[in-house]
Symmetry: C2
Subunit: 406 residues, 2 copies
């Protein structure tokens, strides 16, 4: 298959490109490299030393003889460029990662809120619009987030995208309908993924586009089978307070003897998936496109759930780290249950990598190996969700308070 | 109250500005005048001769001694200008009409789809973002549409915004929740209003903004008490295939002896409200703001529903017009029921103007009076909803087929 990977230079995009190239597909990365620009803006960098996309694809070719093509296109701003590229290449499938994907970054300031909304909505809409304009019947696989559901506390299992509801008619009968699971986003970033869902629903209904939306949990891990083949194929690893996910930041903290920072009670339950499983899920989704005219196919792309404090305790046991309890910069429930249905990928043959089995190697092979590159002042999460929360957060750019605690 | 009216130069915005000015409020119109630019793009004009916004406000001052202020701001593009204006003026309330509001225009081409999404989402988001940034606790009243619900055929009455659903927990209990009524937009334009709903829900929950969303039906009628005061205060009247609503186009057709063009079976049921009632509803909504921290207040702003073919027959009876049956450019159900709850405005004292009582004066006082200005070639609706529908539509720019039929 000819596959376009939009955002193929990113954290999940890059290993997906390698995985699918390795499986024999003709891979074309389209990316505006905005994630590298944001590193520059924030003055942070990947823990792992990461080469340019041009160099990475050159190495991949040298190692495997396979080409991964790269084209610099800004999906949100360059509609005509995108349309012309699609018209020329007419890919069989499109994997869409090309959105700003950090909740804390989306909440940093009004400028970051506007950027995230404008970038994500226009990127997705430009793509859908161009596909219809070109009569391009490619299968679109989008990386969404578990966060569209919010983190419900009602104790119900989160289904794969749709919720059956009964609507009472004027005659007193109850008619059953399946609706998109009601969205309850926890940040501007998560909200844009909810907006995406409505865009997908409309274009599937009105124009018959074939779309799969993957509601992904927090991705952990660094290496996949392909990124291990050469040091310069290594994936990025974010540990800063904006782009580093909770687990990555715990690993870094453990590696450098910094206390594990838990926000609030740590009672937040989150869904996780290993990067290797993530790229396998994307391949499975590509193999099972929905029929033209059917509704958007939705998978929950996660393999296990954990409370944040349980994760911290697990890592503390493995490494002897201490735990530091900090105020929560997010506006969210202090404690939540999270039960997620993921039978669809399991039925397609996914055999998950378990967090408990893989964590220690992440600490040794990645976090400790590159610990010399860590800027400890960038580990704390400082983007506040509201103006009321901002003054409560521990602004401690030098990490002094934690340094003395450790 | 100091009230900012965003889009206050438009079809409902202008009479709202006059109505609220007349009621003693301090009115500030912010508008980018895009609706006038679109007239220029399409080569059409309001049936009624419409003065510039500067001239209109001058006349209003001369007639009443009251000032309506005007500021040219593009909400979607000029975030900083908007923020600075809000910081300086800090209005008590904001009425938000500033979106591209025609479904056929939103479906004309890929450029129009992108424009509508980009303009409407950014206009609404910029406003919400600036309000939070400025700690501006103004009551935001937004003009939404009945079209967010889609036109359900299940035979249930459409509630005012929220639907109670039961969610089954892991323990087998059923927990009741009220969710935003599941959206089912019929065009890109309608979809943007669904996206707005999610933006409002997020900002009400995260930042406590006080928001009222008015799900309005099709507005008919031209005059309000205030626009009648001087010929140069007259409201706009759109009759072209993109901006003219079904009823306006029937009135024009009746006035010039053109057959009434019904698309499809005419079995589409739509909700209607008179322009005078619309401005009264907005005033009622402004008087009853939701409390800070409560959910978005949603009203259905409509007073009666009719099938399109029943409307055509009503007008044919009044005027002796013929009816012409044409293919439907929209992708929609041929026939639908529509029952809408609107008890909330009735409880606040709304006493509706009935369509059957007001139609004849619209034909005589507006359509026939200005019939000399009609360009009959612009009456047909030609924006097709999908590529499959486009070739089926009667492209008849000269109106020849209908001319010979009449």
């Amino acid at each position: 298959m000819k596959i376009a990977i939009l955002g193929g230079d990113g954290f999940v995009g890059w290993p997906t490109a390698l995985h699918l190239s390795d499986a024999g597909h003709d891979i074309h990365i389209l990316d505006n490299l905005s994630r590298r620009w944001i590193d520059t803006e924030l003055g942070v960098q990947s823990l792992t030393p990461m080469d340019s996309i041009q160099e990475r694809t050159r190495i991949w070719h040298a190692e495997t003889g396979r080409r991964i093509h790269f084209k610099l296109i800004d999906l949100a701003r360059d509609y005509e460029l995108l349309k012309n590229w699609l018209a020329e290449h007419r890919p069989d499938a499109i994997v869409h990662f090309a959105e700003q994907r950090a909740a804390p970054y989306s909440m940093k300031s009004d400028r970051h809120k506007n950027y995230t909304v404008n970038n994500n909505v226009n990127a997705t809409h430009n793509l859908l619009n161009a596909m219809v304009e070109l009569d391009l019947d490619a299968h679109l696989v989008h990386l969404g987030t578990m966060g569209v559901y919010g983190y419900s506390t009602v104790g119900a299992a989160i289904p794969e995208g749709y919720l059956p509801v009964g609507i009472e008619t004027m005659d007193g009968e109850t008619v059953s309908q399946e609706i998109l699971y009601p969205s309850n986003p926890g940040s501007i970033y998560h909200m844009t993924k909810c907006l995406d869902q409505l865009l997908f629903q409309f274009y599937a209904r009105n124009d018959g586009l074939r779309i799969t939306d993957l509601h992904q949990g927090i991705v952990w891990g660094t290496h996949t089978e392909q990124t291990r083949r050469h040091p310069q194929l290594i994936n990025r690893f974010d540990y800063d307070g904006d782009y580093g996910t909770v687990l990555n930041r715990f690993l870094i903290q453990a590696a450098i003897g910094y206390p594990l920072t838990v926000h609030g009670t740590g009672g937040q339950t989150r869904a996780f998936i290993h990067i290797q499983d993530s790229v396998r899920c994307i391949e499975l989704a590509l193999k099972t496109p929905p029929a033209r005219g059917s509704r958007v196919e939705i998978f929950n792309q996660m393999t296990e759930t954990h409370r944040v404090r349980d994760l911290a305790e697990m890592i503390a046991r493995m490494t002897g780290s201490e735990i530091a309890w900090l105020p929560n910069p997010r506006k969210e429930a202090a404690e939540n249950e999270l039960v997620v249905r993921n039978e669809k990928f399991l039925a397609l043959g996914l055999d998950p990598i378990r967090l408990e089995d893989g964590l220690l190697s992440e600490i040794v092979d990645v976090a400790k190996k590159f610990a010399y590159r860590i800027d400890r002042s960038r580990v704390p999460a400082v983007s506040a969700w509201t103006k009321e929360i901002a003054p409560l957060i521990n602004h401690d750019p030098e990490g002094k308070r934690l340094k003395s605690a450790s």
